[in-house]
Amino acid sequence: MVSQARLVSSTLIKKNWMTDEVVRLTFSDPHIPALAVPGQFVFLRPSPLNYPLLRRPYSLFDVDEEKGVFDLLVKVVGVGSRILSQRSEREMVDLIGPLGNGFFLSDNSGQRELLTWSDSKHLIVAGGMGIAPMHFLARRLKERGEEVVVLFGAVSRNEVLCSSEFQELGALFVVSTEDGSLGKMGKVSSLIPEYLSRDKRIQIYACGPRGLLKEVVELSRREGLLCQVSLEERMACGLGACRSCVCKVGTESQFEYKRVCRDGPVFRAEELVVE
């Protein structure tokens, strides 16, 4: 697939703090909303100065083609995200995008396998910031009239994100917290079995911590479910040159390294060795 990524300066037009640590940033850009597909990311410079040095990858939370805007979810975890979260509205942010391969949906590029849509049920499984690429995906699925269930896991209730945003799309949004302060107590993976139905073909889309992904991948294999995983990884070039952000594809004994930025970030569960 010929990448349509561009080097652009996008204007930060809106900041909306979702929790104490997570901010939703809205950018105006004439290209990215029209080009992007769910699961893709942008690679941006938190600061116009050279510190921090490297760009940071952020999944597209959603895009609005008509308005020419796109949104990112940013959690303040380190220097880069702190600086980015402190940028002011109307500032320009230097970014490259859209990058990477998105979720495998039917499209016209010929690169994506056409999945069977009739009688499908779509389970989105997100741990924490793993929710970041899922709104765009859920919206596209709902626009096709699909059944979408979002299973969201957090440590505690104050980290639960975006429930109203997904409900507005018409998706069922189910929460679990590790401390039991909201929803079912425990890991989000423990919610999955309840939503497996025999009469519908289940498709799972997962993003979050590696432990969660490992469980989801294993469960999908056991149950023979279609499953796609979006990997989060530190990156240096974001384009495929440096080979920093590699993951194992194949089997534990016979694998090759694939680039999360270029060959992913979305992979099929059956090909991935999650460590």
């Binding site: 010929v2 990448s3 990524a5 561009r6 080097l7 410079r45 050279n50 510190y51 921090p52 040095l53 490297l54 760009r55 230097d94 490259i96 530190r234 240096a236 070039c237 974001g238 384009l239 495929g240 040159a241 440096c242 080979r243 920093s244 952000c245 590699v246 993951c247 090759e256 390294y257 270029r262």
Partner: protein, 323 residues
């Protein structure tokens, strides 16, 4: 004032480049053609090519440090046959000089790579990577020893008639002794520096940040080390130098020229902003224009030290390094 009297062309021995701005090995790939016009570059240096496919090191492979990047990729590449079949034809679609960086585990491997690539059309020069710190055999093991450096370069020299560049490691006591050995063995151009060996540790887990443990440091953090080494070699030897290490803008490039480099290569800067090499070409043109200079040659080695400035002194080169 137009820029028509500025000529950025540089002659690195037999290798003539339309401008002195290159992109360094391992930091640039064909994917960059989607974002910038690579035909404007002085040359592209490929990621290291080895005789056989290399899987690379276990991740994490990079860790960002203060103004720097620590990496241990491990020369992941599909091997020279794949390069000739798939990689080279892609690069050849572009009107840009191509320098192929090669790495081996033995002297024979370097020689074999030189032989194989000697006949390859579209390869304008070879760069011997005798400085990679991240592989178990070869690489830096040659580059830290003048005798071994000599053996690698002379073995390659006897197998290829293409312009030959030796890429040097800064992880040595005396860079000049290595540089001299490479020139005596037939290297026509030297590029320096490769990464500085380093280690980053996670204070919470007590574990190294990189999967492999040690890595090589690049980026602005190492620029003064690189500029210093360029100048040491420039003082000691009459050989064209390509300066590499933390270059992010044209002023960084000018520093390297003043120290004695005839060309520069952008490495980690390509990750920061893929436009940096092109911005340097533009910035350099304006800078030369403003200074009333005609080309980069007017800058090469023109650093002005105060009388009594201190110099690095090493037993083998002390005599050559006094002002």
């Amino acid at each position: 004032m137009g820029n028509n009297k500025i000529n950025l062309e540089v002659h690195l021995g037999r290798l003539i480049l339309k401008n002195p701005v290159l992109v360094a090995s391992g930091t640039f790939s064909y994917e960059y053609t989607e974002l910038i016009d690579i035909s404007k570059l002085g040359a592209v240096v490929t990621k290291a090519v080895t005789l056989r496919r290399r899987q690379g090191n276990r991740p994490p492979r990079t860790w960002e440090t203060s103004c720097g990047l620590l990496n241990s990729i491990g020369l992941e590449n599909p091997g020279v046959e794949h390069f000739l079949e798939k990689g080279l034809p892609c690069w050849r679609r572009w009107p840009v000089k191509l320098i192929v960086n090669v790495a081996g585990e033995t002297v024979e491997e370097y020689a074999e790579l030189a032989r194989i690539l000697d006949g390859a059309e579209g390869v304008d020069a070879l760069e011997a990577n005798i400085s990679c710190p991240n592989i178990r055999e070869g690489g830096i093991f040659f580059g830290v020893n003048p005798e071994m450096s000599y053996r690698v370069i002379s073995a390659m020299r006897s197998r290829t008639s293409k312009p030959l560049i030796a890429k040097l490691t800064p992880n040595v006591t005396d860079i000049v002794s290595i540089a001299r050995a490479c020139v005596e063995a037939g290297a026509e151009i030297l590029s320096l520096i490769n990464t500085l060996r380093g280690l980053a540790i996670d204070p919470d887990t007590f574990r190294p940040r990189l999967g492999k443990g040690f890595g090589g440091l690049s980026g602005p953090a190492i620029k003064p080390v690189a500029v210093g080494m360029i100048h040491q070699v420039y003082r000691a030897l009459d050989v064209p130098l390509i300066g590499i290490g933390g270059i992010l803008d044209y002023r960084d490039a000018v520093e390297f020229f003043l120290a004695g480099a005839r060309a520069v290569a952008v490495g980690t800067g390509n990750f920061v902003n893929p436009r940096i090499p092109l911005e340097i070409i533009e910035g350099l043109t304006k800078f030369l224009e403003e200074k009333g200079m005609r080309g980069v040659e007017d800058l090469v080695g023109k650093v002005r030290f105060e009388v009594g400035a201190t110099w690095p002194r090493f037993p083998r080169t002390e005599g050559e390094l006094t002002i």
